[in-house]
């Protein structure tokens, strides 16, 4: 089988999209790791919650913007003038668009965790929510790389 060759003009938006997705994937996993690590480590809760909030602000937020802007840029090139997008593209948008609500909740909970410390509910929910988003990203990676049904 001969590989599908993309037009050169699609490469930069694809690179930015994938780089952004990798940053979001790694940063969200970092928040999950910090959250799980804080369970039973009350003496380090302040450090871990601060680290999680910084990772959210300086990793997840810029990574998400890069991923979403790159996605729109390449979608406009690949499916111009409102052409119908295939299912694997729709899965990607499904993870990024409703996913932003999940990320906003994650950001608020991470901020609450930092303010209230280890004992609050936020400390328990942050790693669970971050893990849920990592799984959603995994589904998007499957859809966008394997392109099932295409």
């Amino acid at each position: 089988m001969l590989a599908i060759i993309r037009p050169d003009s699609w490469n930069l938006p694809l690179f930015l999209h994938v780089l952004g997705a990798i940053i979001v994937f790694g940063s969200t996993a970092t928040v999950a790791i910090l959250g799980f690590a804080s369970q039973g480590r009350a003496e380090h809760a302040a450090l871990l919650s601060r680290a999680a909030l910084r990772t959210f602000l300086f990793g997840i937020v810029p990574g998400f913007i890069l991923m979403r802007a790159g996605a729109q840029w390449i979608a406009d090139k690949e499916f111009p003038d409102g052409a119908k997008t295939p299912g694997w593209v729709d899965v990607g948008f499904l993870v990024s668009e409703p996913g932003i609500v999940l990320l906003i909740i994650l950001g608020v909970l991470t901020w609450m965790w930092k303010r209230r410390g280890a004992g609050g509910r936020a400390a328990r929910f942050v790693p669970l929510l971050a893990s849920l988003y990592v799984i959603a990203l995994g589904i998007a990676i499957f859809a966008m790389s394997g392109k099932p049904g295409s």
Partner: protein, 157 residues
């Protein structure tokens, strides 16, 4: 899904685990740079081990399924961009591996200091901020970004 689609999915999953692991290690390392207490540095360096597992699994998946993809997609193993990608993958792992061994020594010192009073130490601070270790680890990350660019642009293909 065709064989090509499955191989591409597994190869891309490997790339995400490899580069995502690099992001995790980089984020935790950045946090450690600003810490003074040995127990805090030990905790953050310990969490980097999770990133190392992700990097190792990702490297294996990306490499094995990448080579299989070359065959399946009809590329040649001697094509410049494929040879360059393999060299960059080996270089990134070598740089990261050497940097990681230096970080292991730093973690051992942090463990000793944490067990004997947990007082800040100039030696530990110096090792955490050692420019050679940082250059090796972050250099490895930059090589991986260059590798990603080669995989997408496929120069000469």
């Amino acid at each position: 899904m065709t064989t090509y689609q499955w191989l591409l999915f597994l190869h891309v999953t490997g790339a995400f685990l490899l580069l995502g692991g690099g992001v995790i290690a980089g984020a935790l390392n950045l946090m450690a740079l600003g810490r003074e207490r040995p127990s805090e540095i030990l905790l953050l360096f310990g969490l980097i081990r999770i990133a190392v597992v992700s990097i190792l699994i990702g490297t294996l998946l990306a490499f094995v399924f990448g080579l299989w993809l070359v065959h399946e997609a009809g590329y040649g193993y001697g094509e410049g961009w494929i040879v360059a990608a393999i060299i960059l993958l080996v270089l990134a792992n070598a740089l990261g591996g050497i940097g990681g061994r230096r970080d292991d020594r730093t973690a051992r010192l942090a463990r000793e200091l944490a067990a004997s009073g947990d007082a800040p130490s100039a030696e530990l601070r110096g090792r955490v901020r050692d420019p050679i270790s940082l250059a090796l680890s972050y250099g490895s990350g930059l090589v991986l970004v260059a590798l990603l660019a080669i995989m997408i642009w496929k120069p000469g293909a």
